[in-house]
Every structure is written in structure tokens, then in C-alpha cells.
């Protein structure tokens, strides 16, 4: 399958991403992902390999674009800091990794839940303050918090 379709997949990804080296990386990841999945599904049984490749590649591409958007937001956020408190290069690299891990933990939480959860965990606001700031009830905040913790724990315990 790799021999037959890898060039096609790289070209397809390159059209979507407009960048050859990222496209090659993602194509590689796609095949790796499929090989890893081969335990549950025999590769030979795949009837329409290109359709299947596209589905896997698309999923990886969305993750990739998410990572890019995180990276951009991160770089922009560094500009917000006063000049004398910008962390060292080493700290920045570690910080970026931590942010990527946390972002993965928070997964697909809806925006409001995410915001409420982060206001509590990062800003240290009380549920009452969060409720006031977001214009929702304390009960809703409590529910959002439970949703946030559940999501994070699930991902962590699954790993």
C-alpha cells in the first residue's frame, strides 16, 4: 500500500497544506497510524485504500492545524508579556510542551466550559467570580468544572 499510494498522498496533503515538508511528515504519520491499527484490521482487506488514507490523513491534518493554531496563539501571547518577564528560551520550550499537553487534555470541551475551567485553574478565580464574569449561575459553573475535570481525568487515565 505504501509503495502504491505514498506519492499520491503526499501530493494530496501538499495541495491542502501548501507545504511539501509538512505534507511528507503527515503522510508518514498516516501510514504509521494505519500500520499501528493493522492489529485490528488487516491492511489487505481495505477495499478503497485511497478513501481510507484520506480519512486518516484528514484527522491527522486537523490535529496538525490545531497544533499550529496553538503555536501561533502562544507566540502572540509572549508579546503580551512585559519585556523583562519574558521567560528564557529553555523555559519557553518547556512551557510550549506543557501547553500542548494541556490542550490535548482539554480536548473537545465546548468553549464556555473550557473558559470557566481555565478561569478557575489558571487564574484562580472562585466559582462565584467566574459566574459573575461570564454571566452564568454558580450552579452552571460547578457543572462546567465537573465536565472539565472529567474530561482531563479520562484522558490521563486512558493514557
Amino acid at each position: 500500500m505504501y509503495n502504491e499510494h505514498s506519492q499520491w498522498l503526499v501530493a494530496w496533503l501538499q495541495r491542502k497544506l501548501g507545504n511539501r515538508s509538512d505534507a511528507a511528515d503527515l503522510a508518514q504519520d498516516t501510514f504509521t497510524r494505519i500500520w499501528e491499527g493493522a492489529r485490528t484490521q488487516a491492511i489487505q482487506d481495505i477495499r478503497q485504500p485511497r478513501a481510507y488514507l484520506t480519512i486518516v490523513a484528514k484527522r491527522l491534518m486537523i490535529n496538525y492545524l490545531e497544533r499550529q493554531s496553538l503555536h501561533q496563539a502562544y507566540l502572540a501571547s509572549l508579546h503580551l508579556l512585559p519585556e523583562d518577564s519574558v521567560p528564557s528560551a529553555e523555559t519557553r520550550a518547556i512551557l510550549l510542551e506543557t501547553l500542548q499537553e494541556l490542550d490535548a487534555l482539554l480536548g473537545e470541551l465546548p468553549a464556555k466550559v473550557r473558559t470557566a475551567f481555565l478561569l478557575s485553574q489558571l487564574e484562580g478565580l472562585s466559582y462565584e467570580d467566574i459566574a459573575g464574569q461570564m454571566g452564568i449561575s454558580v450552579r452552571t459553573v460547578t457543572r462546567y468544572m465537573a465536565q472539565g475535570f472529567r474530561q482531563c481525568l479520562r484522558v490521563m487515565l486512558d493514557a
Binding site: L81, L95, L102, L105, L122, S126, L157
Partner: protein
Amino acid sequence: MPGVDTALLDEAVHWLTRKYASDFSAAEEAELQRWRKRSAAHERVWQCAEQLRSQMGTVPASIGMAVLARTRRRPDRRQVLRAAGLALVTPALGWLAYRNLPWQAWTADYRTATGERRSVTLADGSRIVLNTASALSARFDRETRLVRHYSGEILVETAHAGAPAALPFIVETDNGRMRALGTRFIVRMDGQDTTLSVLQGAVEITPRRSARSMVVRAGEQTRFDDTAFAPVRRLAEDADAWSQGVLYAHGMRLEDFLAELARYRPGVLQCDPGVADLRVSGAFHLDDTDRVLDLLARTLPVQVETRTRFWTRIARR
């Protein structure tokens, strides 16, 4: 879900949610401590909770909020892809916006990402090439053409035809102002100071906290801070090679070479002290820094150690 008991998860979520509530009491805390000791599984879940808290604790709140609570476009997946396509072709908005403004009040902001290089034409026809990780804003009015340079490195070619060319063209950094006297020059901001390299014509520098000015001529380079200038040096012939995406090295120390290369790639690029004094020569393409590193590994007794995508170290092989 393997390994997670739903009832246990529910309980852990309940305790966590309570723990951050403002009315969480000492009695509840004691009960929580008893709860986590009930079994190894309880303890394991709670360890995860603690780990989450310590990870959150290492992130400065302002950065964390800006990054993790960023607006994301994912109402549906197709839209994400379309948005990505758009980002690749977004034109210089500043340039488009200017067409609707009278000449007297033209402003525009330009910025490049790490590894990016970009050429822009200002409203008077002057051209600026922005090197990696650079930012500037241009403000033209009836009296001056002012370019405020915030970070990175720029190559300026001032226009010298038409009415606007009669107005002074000034580049300003944190350290002071440079007035172009019909010319082509490079301004680079590094940490505490500004380096000016003049390729054609001449430029007059006035540091921010100095009454003195100095004229730098073609083929000369100088560095200045808020108050003083460094002695003028002869300019290297390839000072503007970066505007063509090339880095020339003539027996450059590896450490200096890597420091230069690091400007063009995101993340950290470290040089082991044991190889810092090796010498590098050649012309290198800045658009693919990974390839440059591969090339080093093949031509010098060094190896490239990559710990994460954003952490690379060059050490002895």
C-alpha cells in the same frame, strides 16, 4: 474504557469540583484524604488530579488563557480546512487598506513569523524586506515618512522619485532614529542595541538620549544604543544575503553560526561548548534549516540531537 471505573471517576470528579469551591471545608478535606486512601485505584486517580494541578501551576495565567482559551474554528471540520487554506493566501491587509486612505494619513503594520521572509512596498514606493521574526509599522504624514521598527531585521530601499521622496524618511528603533539620505540600508535589533549597515548612500543616526548625530556611509556598519555609537566597521560584502534567503559563512565559529541559524527556526537550537569553536564555511539556504543541520552533521564531527520538535542540540559525534 480500559482501566477506569466509572463510579470511581464520578467520585473523583465530585471531589475535585468541591475542592475548588469557596466553601470547601476542613472537614471535607479530611474526608477527601480518607477517600483517596481507600484503594490503590483511588490513589492513582488522585495522583492524576495532582499532576493536572501541578501542570496548570507552571503556566503563567496570561499565557495560558491566551493560548488554551483561544477561539477555535471548529464548528465543522471542513471549515477548519478551508480556514487553513485562507491563511496561506491572506494578502497584506495594510497595503489594501491604504488605497482607501488619503496619502496624508497612511499607516500599515507588517510582521513576519520565525523563518519567514517578506518584501513589502510602502505607499511612497519604498521597499522593505522583513527578515525572520520582524515587525514594523509605517506611518506617513505631511511631514515625514516614519517607519517604527519593533523587532528583527529589515532591509530598506527608499524611493527617490515623486513628490513624497522629498519628505524625510526615518527609521526608528528603541535606541534612536536613523534618517535616510537617499539610500539602501539594513537595520537589525538585537537585545539592547541596534545595528545599522549602509549598502548605498548614507544614513544619519541620532540615539534617543543623545544630542549628537553621526553619518554612516555606504560600506560601513555601526552599532548604537540609547546614548552612544560603537566605532564604525567595514561592512561584510554579503550583509544583505539574507534578503535572498542565503547565509554565507567564511570560517565562522559553529556557535556563532548556530546562533544566526536559530533566528530562522522556532524553538531552541543549542550548541555544545565542546564543538563551539569548530569552523563553518559555505552558503546555506535559510528556507530549510533542518537541511542545513543535516549538512553540518555530514561535514563536521557533530551530530544533531532532537529531543522534541522545538529542542535541538548540536554535540560532538
